[in-house]
């Protein structure tokens, strides 16, 4: 009995329908029938008649969802939106504990979900989205309509779960359930005012109680509310008070760093329905599945951020992606970048790329082209929006794309997993997916007018707050290229370093450094001794903690200011200074900066009357480069005091942050420096310190050290 697809979305209980039917899949168009080489993804995600229940999702119905969890992300990349919803449903039945038992290195993010209505439908959507990023979600559900209770009582089960993220899903019913059957706009205004006051109090309680992140959302206004008002003046009034309340909600983020407010309005503007009337009434699910799917997609990127899997670089193909035509055949003046119909579409795409680049996303090119011709096109084409200066690297060769991406990653000293790759060729996309499963692949095909929405469909580069370093990142990386040329002109590294004229400043971190220090813990994978990710609220907690100290490392050289390039987190335990983490941006390795700062920390500890400095190395997949950091500078390995092999201090001291990437096989090693021999500051650099002395050892222990709640 083959019946036609249900076409009327407004009466369907549809699982998240694609908001734009032209781009139903997350990154791949439905017409993408290119063979995917991944073992799992032998899917024909074909159009219209849905494939029989089976093929792409078969794996998720079996125990392989557990035993082969690390491969699940690759499987999900080629699914259409409805398939992804089904995959999330199946994955939400998988016990995270079992996955972790088999694959202890899979990053986990705990997420509490609370709402006015039922929270259950969100869990599968969120599970699926997190799985796309290779992250396992540990959901903590609260009971129906319990958000006020859960968020207002510091002893609630929600707070006791100490989750990384807390989602408080807001829907229009929180207001309209309180105005009675007969209402006027002023009644709604009064209810909104009361809710805002309540939500503000809840946010304040949250910040005082939790070190995680709270996520609220703006309230959609479904048409059936204004449509109940027969006069236009009242409808306008309702629209105004509603939007004023949403604006006030969004403005709460200005004063509350632990808060994220997701604006749902842009999703509604793209045609996603706010509510599903049947689910609203019968199931007390007050937001539509499609809107929940869009919401889950945004939260998925927050989850990815908490897990330290931020994307940093946008790598672009050129022909058919950045411009129309084939450069090698059409020549510099023949490619389409403006003016013509298609040219204008490519120009719009280039403008968006440039806009992303201005916010710290590194832009690079991986194109099968002639390098010199590409340079000429970027330099000489009068109507080209993207300039050579916008790009940190242009790799134009005839080698396979995945090789170009690997080379690019090495040149930029970044993990290839931090790349987002955009190409119009299904073949290249499939190849990169198969060879480099950590790369996010965005397939733009056919009509260039759709490139922008394909690229922006996912918030690949979403971050909590832009820092000064973000805004100047491209010039920083370009300076790096100049430094490399400069290095080539010296016969010895020492001569080079002397001429580089490095200045390092180690100073107490202030409020102004919170965003950057948090960002360093989230983005830095190599020079990150413990890979302990800290959200902004965690860093703020450390600034307030009298036993803890946070130092920011700034550096500069003859080529310019590098900005804040690292951080040292420490705390005092009786006569010992414990270094909880030491972080340095990969851009400034091998210049003696780490030695200078460690020397300053040892000196600081000695003058504060400490007898020793203890540091921990916790292996991750990426931080092997700093395995010998402490022993190299006179530290000796010691037996960890804790039974579990962890020193037992860092996790407690900076509690709340995520430890997503520990390698279970790798052992945490604790090192100790007895402070007898001072460590020299390398003589090729100048060190300035501006750090507060911890004079009294007594302040560093007792009830503050190791306490979980900073309040």
């Amino acid at each position: 009995m083959a019946l036609p697809d249900l076409a009327r979305a407004d009466i369907s209980l549809s699982p998240p329908a694609p908001s734009d039917t032209t781009a139903p899949s997350d990154t791949t168009a439905p017409s993408d029938t290119a063979p995917s080489d991944t073992a799992l993804a032998d899917t024909a995600a074909g159009p219209a008649p849905r494939p029989p229940a089976g093929d792409p999702l078969a794996l998720l119905r079996t125990d392989a969802a557990v035993t082969r969890y690390p491969q699940v992300a690759a499987l999900l990349t080629t699914l259409s939106e409805p398939e992804l919803a089904r995959a999330g449903q199946l994955l939400s039945r998988v016990d995270p504990g079992r996955v972790l038992a088999e694959h202890p290195s899979v990053p986990v993010v705990s997420v509490a979900i609370t709402a006015h209505g039922t929270v259950d439908p969100l869990v599968p959507a969120l599970t699926g989205q997190a799985a796309r990023h290779g992250v396992l979600v540990r959901p903590v559900r609260t009971t129906f309509d319990s958000y006020v209770f859960e968020l207002s009582d510091p002893g609630s089960s929600l707070y006791e779960a100490h989750t990384d993220l807390t989602l408080c899903l807001l829907d229009p019913r929180i207001v309209f359930d309180e105005v009675g059957a007969v209402w006027r706009p002023q009644d709604v205004a009064a209810a909104l005012k009361a809710k805002l006051a309540l939500l503000t109090r809840l946010v304040e309680t949250f910040e005082a109680t939790s070190r995680g992140t709270l996520v609220l959302n703006t309230l959609p206004l479904p048409r059936h509310y204004p449509a109940q008002l027969v006069d236009h003046r009242s409808r306008a009034q309702l629209g105004a008070v509603w939007r004023e309340a949403n604006a006030a909600l969004l403005r709460l983020t200005e004063n509350h760093p632990a808060l994220v407010v997701l604006d749902l309005e842009p999703h509604l503007g793209e045609g996603v329905g706010a509510t599903d009337p049947r689910l609203d009434v019968y199931a007390r699910a007050h937001l539509s599945p499609a809107l929940l799917a869009a919401y889950a997609r945004e939260v998925g990127h927050l989850v990815k951020l908490v897990a330290g899997r931020a994307k940093k670089t946008l790598v672009l193909d050129l022909d058919g992606t950045v411009w129309g035509g084939v450069l090698g055949e059409d020549g510099v003046t023949g490619i389409e970048v403006a003016g013509s119909y298609r040219g204008e579409a490519f120009r719009a795409f280039q403008r968006v790329v440039k806009q992303l680049g201005s916010q710290g996303v590194l832009l690079a090119v991986a194109s099968k082209n002639d390098q010199e011709l590409v340079r000429r096109a970027l330099r000489e084409h009068a109507e080209m929006t993207l300039a050579e200066d916008d790009l940190v690297r242009v790799t134009a060769t005839w080698r396979p794309k995945h090789e170009s991406l690997r080379e690019l990653a090495e040149l930029l000293n970044l993990g290839v997993d931090s790349f987002v790759f955009v190409d119009d060729s299904a073949h290249e996309c499939a190849l990169v997916r198969a060879e480099l499963p950590g790369v996010a692949v965005v397939h733009v095909d056919g009509d260039p007018a759709l490139h922008v929405s394909r690229l922006l469909r996912d918030g690949w580069f979403d971050t909590r707050e832009l820092t000064a370093e973000d805004r100047s990142r491209v010039s920083t990386y370009r300076q790096e290229a100049e430094r490399a040329d400069f290095l080539d002109s010296f016969s010895s590294l020492q001569d080079y370093l002397r001429e580089l004229d490095v200045t390092v400043t180690l100073a107490d971190a202030s409020e102004a450094d919170v965003a950057r220090v948090s960002q360093l813990t989230l983005r830095t994978n190599q020079f990150n001794l413990t890979t302990h990710r800290l959200q902004q609220a965690d860093v703020q907690g450390l600034l307030r903690d009298p036993a803890a100290q946070v130092f920011a490392i700034r550096s500069a050289d003859r080529f310019g200011d590098n900005g804040t390039v690292g951080a040292v987190l420490l705390h005092r335990e009786r006569e010992t200074v414990v270094v909880d983490n030491f972080l340095l941006s990969c851009r400034v390795f091998s210049r003696g900066i780490e030695q200078a700062c460690l020397a300053a920390v040892l000196d600081h500890a000695r003058r504060a009357g400490a007898r020793a400095v203890v540091g921990t190395y916790r292996p991750s997949a990426r931080n092997g480069v700093v395995r010998d950091f402490y022993p190299r500078y006179g530290f000796e390995e010691v037996e960890p005091p804790g039974r579990d092999g962890n020193s037992g201090n860092s996790a407690d001291q900076t509690g709340g942050g995520a430890h997503p990437e520990a390698i279970p096989g790798g052992t945490t090693v604790v090192f100790r420096h007895d402070l007898r021999q001072p460590l020299a500051v390398p003589d090729h650099l100048t060190l300035h310190t501006s750090i507060t002395e911890h004079t009294s050892p007594a302040t560093g222990q007792g009830d503050t050290a190791g306490k979980e709640d900073p309040q």
């Binding site: 019946l3 209980l13 229940a53 449903q89 439908p121 199931a283």
Partner: protein, 74 residues
């Protein structure tokens, strides 16, 4: 979806819950892993497949898989 067996197979595929024809008359409370959220999800799939709208109140009042199927099959 032609018969009860198709319906049960849908439950196995979409929800990953192992059910057979012997489960069709058991109370939903006795089916391991079952909850009402699954029901809503299942209905969305059924509606998609069949192109027909299912009466939610009828389904929500059903107490066995067999009676859900009757409500779905209309």
């Amino acid at each position: 979806m032609n018969d009860l067996d198709d319906f049960l197979s849908l439950i196995r595929d979409e929800l990953g819950i192992e059910v057979g024809s012997e489960d069709s008359e058991r109370s939903l409370d006795e089916i391991p892993g079952w909850d009402s959220v699954h029901l809503l999800w299942l209905l969305s799939i059924v509606e998609q497949r069949t192109g027909r709208s299912v009466s939610l109140p009828d389904v929500l009042e059903a107490s066995t898989l067999g009676s859900i199927y009757s409500a779905v099959a209309g």
